[in-house]
C-alpha cells in the first residue's frame, strides 16, 4: 500500500488501459500492434488483481498468484501469436490486417 495514493487511482489507470487495449484491438491495422493491444488488456488485469489484493485483502496471496500466472500465460500466448504472424508474413510479405481477409462471412 502506498501512502497518499488511493485504490481509485489504480483502478482508473487499469480501466483506462483495458479500454485503450480494446480500442486498439479494433482500430489498429498491423497484426503486431493488435497483439500489443491484447498485452495492454492483460496487464490491466494484472494491475487489478494486485491492487485488489494489496488494498482490500492484504492478509492473502491469491491475487498475487493469479497475476503471476497471467504473466506466464501471456508470454506463451505472445510467442505462439508471433510465430503465426511470421507465418503470415512469409505468405504475403505484409502483416496488415486488411490483407488477411481471404475468408469473409
Amino acid at each position: 500500500m502506498i501512502q497518499g495514493i488511493s485504490i481509485y487511482h489504480f483502478l482508473i489507470v487499469s480501466t483506462l488501459m483495458f479500454f485503450i487495449g480494446i480500442a486498439g484491438f479494433i482500430i489498429r491495422q498491423n497484426l503486431i500492434t493488435i497483439l500489443l493491444s491484447v498485452e495492454l488488456i492483460l496487464n490491466s488485469v494484472v494491475i487489478n488483481f494486485l491492487v485488489f489484493n494489496r488494498y482490500l485483502y492484504p492478509d492473502q496471496l491469491q491475487g498475487h498468484f493469479f497475476a503471476l500466472f497471467i504473466i506466464g500465460v501471456a508470454a506463451a500466448e505472445a510467442s505462439v501469436a508471433i510465430a503465426l504472424i511470421i507465418n503470415i508474413y512469409r505468405r504475403i510479405h505484409n502483416i496488415e490486417s486488411d490483407n488477411v481477409n481471404e475468408m469473409k462471412y
Binding site: 488488456i41 505462439v80 503465426l84 481471404e102
Partner: protein, 475 residues
C-alpha cells in the same frame, strides 16, 4: 503428508501426459521414411489409455479444493476422450499425405495436450485452475489450425484464432478480477457465499460471460467461428466444434450453477436474449453457405443456442440435459465431419453443390451423412431428437414456454438447410459426381461407431438415468 492414492483422481490427465511423452519418444526413434507407423501406434496407445481411465475411483478433492474429481467430471472426461479417439481415427487419411509426414507426432501430441487442458478445466475448483486449463486448451489449437503450413487460409485462420482467443481471455480475466475484488476469493465455493447483485459483481459477470461467449461462439461473439473452421484442416474443425465447445459449455454450466447461484435471475435474463439471438442468427447465416465447413460452423453456432436453452432449466435436470446433449452431439457432429473429411481427402470436394449425386456413387457415406444431419435437425427416431427433447423439457420445467416456442421454430428453420444437403446427395442430378472410393479402415470404423450410436443411444434410457444419478453431487 498427502495420501498417495488421491493422485489417482487425476488419472485422466496423467495418462494423457504419459501418452504424449511416449509418442514424442517413439517419434524420435523412428526413421523419416517410416513416420507413418506413428499413426496406428498413437491411436492404439491413446485407446489403451482411454480404457485404463474408465477404471472408477472414489470422488475427492486435491490441492485444497483446486481440483475436484467426482463421477460427473469423470463421465464427462470419458466423453471427451472418446471424441478425441474418433477425431484421431478420422484424421488418418489426412496425415498419410506426403506433406504431413514430418509433423505427424506434433499433431497427436498437441491435440492430446489440449485435451489435458480441457480435463483440468472441467474439474477445476477455482478460477486459477480454470484459467490455466482454458489457456492450455486454446493456445496449441491455434497452432493446429495453422497446421497446413503452405495454405494461406490455414495461416489466416490460425492468426484469427490466437488473436481473438487472447482478446476473449483478456475480457474474461477482467471480469474475474472484478469478481475477485468484490468477493476476496478465487475459489468457487468461497465466491458463491459472497455473491450479491452489487454493481461490481454484475459488471464482472458481464465481462466473464462475454469472454465465455467467444469460446463457445455465441452471437454476437461468433464472427471468428466460420473463418477459423474454414481455414483449419477438416479433423481440427471437427475437434473445435465438438470437444473444445463441449468442454467450455460444461464448465460454464457448472460456474453458472455453483458460483453465480445467488444471481440466477440475472444470468437467466442474459442467457434468454443470447439464446434467441444465437439460434436465429446461426440458422439464418447457415442457409446461405455453400462450403460444407462453413455450413457446419454456422450449424454448430445454432446448436450452441439450443444448449443455452437447456442451461436455463437450472438444477440437476439442466446439468443432465446438457451432458446428455453433448454426448449425442459428439457422435452427431463427428459423423457429419467424418463423411465430409472422407470425401475431401478422396476428391478435394468441400462444397455442398459438389455433393450432388453422391448417393449414386457412395450410398453408404450418403446414408451416414443423412443420419447425422437428421440428428442435428432433431428428427425423432435418431438420437439428436432425444437430446433436444430433454433440453426443452429442462427449460420447460422453469416455465420458459416462449423461449421453447422460439427454439422449436428455429429447429424447423434448421430442417430446411439440413435437408438441402440431403437433397443434394439423393435427388440432384450431376454429370460428374464424386467417384466411388474406399476410405481408410480407421475412418470406416469411426463412422460405423457414430452411426450405431446415433441409432441406438436414444433408446438406451439407462444413459440418461446414469447422468441424472451422478449429477446430483453438484447440488
Amino acid at each position: 503428508m498427502m495420501d498417495f492414492k488421491y493422485i489417482l483422481l487425476m488419472r485422466h490427465e496423467l495418462l494423457l501426459v504419459l501418452v504424449a511423452v511416449i509418442i514424442l519418444i517413439f517419434d524420435f526413434l523412428t526413421d523419416r521414411e517410416k513416420k507413418n507407423r506413428l499413426i496406428p501406434f498413437s491411436i492404439y496407445l491413446f485407446a489403451g489409455a482411454m480404457l485404463v481411465s474408465f477404471f472408477p475411483v472414489k470422488p475427492g478433492v486435491l490441492f485444497g479444493g483446486s481440483f475436484q474429481g467426482n463421477a460427473l467430471t469423470d463421465f464427462f472426461k470419458d466423453i471427451l476422450n472418446l471424441a478425441l479417439l474418433i477425431v484421431f481415427m478420422q484424421s488418418e487419411g489426412y496425415l498419410r499425405k506426403e506433406e504431413n509426414r514430418e509433423k505427424i507426432a506434433e499433431y497427436f501430441v498437441l491435440l492430446i495436450l489440449t485435451l489435458v487442458g480441457m480435463d483440468y478445466m472441467v474439474s477445476s475448483g477455482d478460477f486459477l485452475t480454470f484459467y490455466v486449463g482454458l489457456e492450455t486448451a486454446s493456445i496449441p489449437l491455434a497452432g493446429l489450425v495453422a497446421y497446413d503450413k503452405f495454405k494461406s487460409r490455414s495461416a489466416e485462420g490460425g492468426v484469427k484464432l490466437i488473436l481473438l482467443s487472447a482478446l476473449s481471455s483478456g475480457v474474461l480475466l477482467f471480469g474475474l478480477s472484478l469478481v475477485y475484488g468484490a468477493t476476496g476469493s478465487i475459489y468457487f465455493s468461497d465466491i458463491a457465499k459472497h455473491i450479491t447483485a452489487s454493481p461490481l459483481i454484475i459488471l464482472g459477470f458481464i465481462f466473464f460471460l462475454s469472454g465465455m461467449g467467444f469460446k463457445i461462439s455465441l452471437v454476437p461473439f461468433h464472427l471468428w467461428t466460420a473463418d477459423v473452421y474454414e481455414g483449419a484442416p477438416m479433423s481440427i474443425t471437427a475437434y473445435l466444434s465438438v470437444v473444445s465447445k463441449g468442454a467450455a459449455v460444461f464448465i460454464l454450466t457448472i460456474i453458472l450453477y455453483k458460483v453465480f447461484k445467488n444471481i440466477t435471475g440475472l444470468w437467466e435474463t442474459a442467457l434468454y436474449a443470447l439464446a434467441i439471438l444465437t439460434m436465429t442468427v446461426g440458422n439464418l447465416f447457415a442457409i446461405r453457405q455453400n462450403n460444407i465447413k462453413r455450413f457446419l460452423a454456422f450449424s454448430s453456432i445454432a446448436q450452441a443456442g439450443f444448449i443455452l436453452v437447456g442451461i436455463m432449466g437450472t438444477g440437476s435436470l439442466g446439468m443432465t440435459s446438457i451432458v446428455y446433449f453433448i454426448l449425442i452431439y459428439v457422435f452427431t457432429n463427428l459423423g457429419a465431419f467424418g463423411v465430409a473429411s472422407a470425401i475431401f481427402n478422396a476428391s478435394g470436394v468441400e462444397t455442398i453443390s459438389g455433393y450432388n449425386g453422391l448417393y449414386k456413387t457412395n450410398p453408404r457415406l450418403s446414408l451416414i451423412m443423412m443420419l447425422s444431419l437428421f440428428s442435428l435437425a432433431g428428427i425423432p427416431p435418431v438420437a439428436g431428437f432425444f437430446g433436444k427433447f430433454f433440453m426443452f423439457t429442462s427449460a420447460g420445467s422453469k416455465g420458459y414456454f416462449i423461449l421453447i416456442l422460439i427454439g422449436v421454430l428455429n429447429a424447423t428453420i434448421s430442417l430446411y438447410y439440413y435437408l438441402m444437403v440431403v437433397k443434394a446427395m439423393f435427388i440432384n442430378k450431376n454429370d460428374h459426381p464424386v467417384p466411388y472410393f474406399r476410405s481408410p479402415n480407421f475412418l470406416r470404423f469411426s463412422l460405423l461407431l457414430c452411426s450405431i450410436a446415433l441409432v441406438f443411444i436414444g433408446f438406451a434410457g439407462g444413459i440418461f438415468e446414469y447422468i441424472m444419478s451422478v449429477s446430483h453431487v453438484l447440488f
